[in-house]
Structures are given as structure tokens and as C-alpha cells.
């Protein structure tokens, strides 16, 4: 008995109607995760906005060099990694394992570079005296919001790099499909998307003059 026959016998034909979105269940699941994650990031950015607006002495510590220069490189690296991810998805759909592997490794490498630059930025601020609940310039909540927002994003980047590594290994061994690569790509582009909001709100609105 096929899986379809088994499902029809046990659940009836009513449950076997086609998906209204015409996408595989796991892709829909990733979209739902992305939506919930977008609301999570939205909530912490709104929380940051609340605290920043309510504080009369919110610090503005980001100088062009090293912070903004570093952020510009990080943005370039992350957007470029989205492009290599698109190449990986396209190659995977075409069944070109070699090219898919190269694109996925390139995406991982760019993710690692981004994480490295991010950690360098953190250490720079820590050297300047920024801690979770204190800093030399003003509102002590600056460190809490900065490390929370950028830390959650960094966690997403590191998780994404690990996920891409697992998917690349599985795809090259033949145990995972192009669909898995595509879903991982959706997640990676979302990480890129979040950064597009973090940069203006967290960095560019707090420039040192």
C-alpha cells in the first residue's frame, strides 16, 4: 500500500486536498517560522525604540571608523552571501552538486566573515567600557539593547552557517534534496533582511558627531 493510499484510508479524502499555497509543507513551515521570527525582531526593535525615546541621555558612540566602516563591510558581506545562496539554490534545482557545494561553502565562508567582524565590533565596544548594564556615556540600558539585538542576529547568523553546513553535507551525499537547500536559503535571506533594519535603527541613529 502506498503512503497516499494509507493516508486516504486512515484520514479520508477530505484531508488530501491540494495545498492552497501550492508549496511543500516544510517550505510553508519555514515561512511561518520566518514570520514569527520577524515579529520577534520587530518586538525587540520596538522595545529598543521605546527605551531610546524615553531616555534623555541615550549614547551615540558609533564613529565612522571603526564602527560604521565595519558595519558597511558586514552589510556588503551579508548581501553578497545572499547572492551566493541564490546560486546554490539554482544549482541544486538543476542537480549540479559540484556547483551547489561551491556556492554553499562560499555562503558559509561569508557568514563566518560576517560573524568575525561582528565579534570584532563587540570587542571594540567592550574595550570602550560598554557592558550589559553600564557604559561610560549615558543610559545604562544602551549595552543591554545593543548586545540583545545584535546578539540575537549574530545567533541567527551562526545558526545559519551551521544549518548550511549540515544541508551542504546532506545534499552532496544525496540524503537531502534541492528543496532542503531552498528552505535553508529562505532562512539565510531572512537573516540578511533583519540586518537591513538593525543597521539604520541601531547604528546609524546613534552616530558619534
Amino acid at each position: 500500500m502506498s503512503e497516499l493510499d494509507h493516508a486516504v484510508q486512515n484520514h479520508g479524502t477530505a484531508l488530501m486536498e491540494p495545498s492552497p499555497y501550492a508549496i511543500p509543507s516544510r517550505k510553508l513551515t519555514m515561512w511561518l517560522f520566518i514570520i514569527s521570527d520577524a515579529i520577534t525582531f520587530g518586538a525587540i526593535l520596538f522595545g529598543y525604540g521605546y527605551l531610546r525615546t524615553a531616555s534623555s541621555d541615550w549614547p551615540a558612540p558609533f564613529k565612522f571608523y571603526p564602527s560604521i566602516f565595519n558595519v558597511m563591510i558586514m552589510t556588503f558581506v551579508l548581501i553578497t552571501s545572499s547572492l551566493t545562496m541564490l546560486g546554490a539554490v539554482d544549482s541544486a534545482k538543476a542537480g549540479d552538486k559540484g556547483k551547489t557545494g561551491r556556492f554553499l561553502w562560499a555562503t558559509m565562508l561569508l557568514g563566518v566573515v560576517f560573524a568575525g567582524l561582528h565579534i570584532r565590533e563587540w570587542f571594540g565596544l567592550i574595550d570602550d567600557g560598554v557592558r550589559l548594564f553600564q557604559n561610560p556615556w549615558g543610559s545604562p540600558l544602551f549595552g543591554a539593547t545593543f548586545f540583545s539585538i545584535t546578539g540575537l542576529h549574530l545567533l541567527h547568523v551562526i545558526s545559519g552557517v551551521i544549518a548550511i553546513g549540515v544541508i551542504a553535507r546532506g545534499f552532496l551525499r544525496g540524503s537531502l534534496t534541492a528543496g532542503h537547500v531552498e528552505i535553508t536559503g529562505l532562512y539565510w535571506h531572512f537573516v540578511d533582511l533583519v540586518w537591513m533594519f538593525v543597521v539604520p535603527l541601531v547604528y546609524l541613529l546613534n552616530l558619534a558627531r
Partner: protein, 103 residues
């Protein structure tokens, strides 16, 4: 046609979106150094960030190529929730003005 020949054509297709995203990121940095009032800068930066986000969702995440029902099920709900979060601003401004030495 072999698999190798069929793949790899997607990068040039998405290069315009890639360069627009880089351009928007550069424009945001440029505007941030133009000494605009904070509220004006916030509005402009948010508008540019939404443009970047929309491009990423529609082209990189291929939502434009999916059925419209997927878009209608996901995006309006997110926008609605984010709009509902705006109710906090009156309270944060109240806190600022209650401070005796608020600048």
C-alpha cells in the same frame, strides 16, 4: 542539456537587485551624516529599510513567484502586528517629559 549547463544563470538575473540593495545601504550611511533632524532621519531610514526588505522578500525569497494567497496570508498579518506595537510611543514620550532634566 546537462545539469551544469542549466545552472548558474541566476546570478546575473539577480545582480540588479543586489546592486540596488548595496546602493540603498550606501545611501542610508550618506543620509545619516547629513545632520537631518532625528525624526526625519528615522522616517527616511525606515522607508529605505522597508524598500530593501521588500526587495529581499520579493526577489531573493521569491515571494513574488509564489501564489498570491501565500503573500496575503503572511505579509498583512506581520504588518498588522507591527502596527499594533506602535501603541508604546505615547508612553515612552511621557516618560521622557516626566524627567526633570530631560533634554
Amino acid at each position: 542539456m546537462t545539469a551544469s549547463a542549466k545552472s548558474g544563470n541566476v546570478i546575473p538575473k539577480y545582480l540588479p537587485v543586489y546592486f540596488i540593495l548595496l546602493g540603498i545601504a550606501g545611501l542610508e550611511v550618506f543620509l545619516a551624516y547629513q545632520n537631518l533632524p532625528t525624526v526625519s532621519l528615522l522616517v527616511v531610514l525606515l522607508a529605505l529599510a522597508f524598500c530593501s526588505g521588500a526587495l529581499a522578500v520579493m526577489y531573493f525569497m521569491h515571494l513574488l513567484q509564489e501564489r498570491r494567497s501565500l503573500f496575503l496570508s503572511l505579509i498583512p498579518a506581520v504588518i498588522f502586528v507591527l502596527l499594533m506595537m506602535n501603541m508604546i510611543w505615547s508612553d515612552s514620550l511621557r516618560l521622557l517629559h516626566l524627567r526633570p532634566f530631560a533634554r
